[in-house]
Symmetry: C2
Amino acid sequence: MELVKSVLAGSRLALARALTQIENGTAEGRAALTSLFPHTGAAHLIGVTGAPGTGKSSLVNQLARYFRSPTAGEPRRVGIVAVDPSSPFTGGAILGDRVRMRDLAGDPGVFIRSMASRGSLGGLAAATSGVVQALDAAGFQVILIETVGAGQAEVDIARLAHTTLVIEAPGLGDDIQAIKAGILEIADILVVNKADRPGVETTERALRGMLQLAHPVPHIFQNHTGHKTSDPPAPQQADILWLPPIQRTVATEGSGVPELAAEISRHHQFLTETGELLCRERARLQSELDLLLRETLVARWRENVSDDRYNQALDQILQRQLSPWQAVEELLHA
Amino acid sequence: MELVKSVLAGSRLALARALTQIENGTAEGRAALTSLFPHTGAAHLIGVTGAPGTGKSSLVNQLARYFRSPTAGEPRRVGIVAVDPSSPFTGGAILGDRVRMRDLAGDPGVFIRSMASRGSLGGLAAATSGVVQALDAAGFQVILIETVGAGQAEVDIARLAHTTLVIEAPGLGDDIQAIKAGILEIADILVVNKADRPGVETTERALRGMLQLAHPVPHIFQNHTGHKTSDPPAPQQADILWLPPIQRTVATEGSGVPELAAEISRHHQFLTETGELLCRERARLQSELDLLLRETLVARWRENVSDDRYNQALDQILQRQLSPWQAVEELLHA
């Protein structure tokens, strides 16, 4: 496949074209993914999540810049995938993209892709996963996957990463409930950004308190289709468990960014040395397999049922002649 | 079915038992739903969503109290369903429930149910829909469906309601991006709670600005399975479009609550008079049908594929012998 060859040879234009095909879920996109897949597995996938207003995008830009600078050792090629699952109606991702482009423009070692939700959430997570794979195959060594918010959507997308950063900021709500237990449990590294603002101690104390409450789970094996999977290798010792560090940053000035990058490297080393990386790879790929299975099952069924039949069932539900469960039974026996 | 008879006769114990069956998705739960479904359709379903820290729960309690008080005309029976999709790991919903119980305890005209996410998001939305149906059949005339946050999850759950309130509060982040365009487009009524705090004018101004930017869309017909549906009846006149009002409240004191309840009644009247209620019912039930179809398709497939076969495919992906898409092809041809 000509397109795939060009992507592997480093053509940005070919990569951009392939990503569009992958995002749109075309047959060409699927074919490209299948050819690219054997070339994946080398990148460090870093998820970055946090509520709006935490300065997440600025921090991602600063991290990208840092990974590109010679001060941090051999500069690494950086991919950025910005996902906004909270905006199903408007193309909010586009603006952020433009701002970013200005910041990192012209560096051939950086590739940025923004994705807005189109239709179903499962579709978005699957498309994101495909885009990440293509960047991985194209030789980007660090891939930052940025998502807004802290809902299940973001948890699903964070599950695509090896290392997950959760960004907080002072003054975004003073209640303890503003810091979500769920998101804490997926965090490998906690970042308090805008650390020059008042209230930074309170935010950090609240995070520390929550961390102590939460059981530190080194990895999450959740399974979308409910299949039992082979047990992951157990951590060899209790003391190799990773305790999420809390790092303060001021992204607008770049302060705390080298320290944060060091924590990221330390986490990658932890993953590699403990064999945890393999566990995460397995969980990650399983998440993806399950998502694709789900989407494909629905798509196939859709092809076999006419719109008329579907609408008839819906009318019967509306008239309370059929319960939704009865309608499902009828439609699936078509 | 004995359980269903008792629910319809007004037994709280039977209702609680039925809800547990429904939440757990048991065969008994499905049977109960099918028997209860013909008795649904009378309740006014009110979705309440907003970020953590906006005081959403207090506001829901105050609204429930107001609907129960004789000052508001004939007291109505109130169901509360509190959903927390952002906490897939911990049972965060439980605490809120206890606080609430203290507040509204002992009133037989109020029934409260808290739900935390267990496993898949689709499962949670389907379970929520079932719980709402059971409360509707059991004669609760107003059902408040409270969800945390503003992601796709909440949008999906808000889609279960006839009237959706979006709660904001001053000082939860000063960026305009903190107010999400997507959530604005699902709002029928905007509430600025904690209106005694500084910054209330800024928040209200920002909301008003966003409202003017957003095209006021009176209803959302989004379709999970991509089926074309019969066109909804068009609004008869451009001037019957609903413009979301902005209501200030201080839930802790109850101020603004009667006015908010009046706006809710006005919206219900608007829905009824314009025929929009029927459109929303259709969209709502279609959402639910699609969710159930999706869940059932996955469950059926799961029964037909052995864990061994599934794990073998996963291993081949991990070893890059098979791309995820190839694995899906293989597994679905089983």
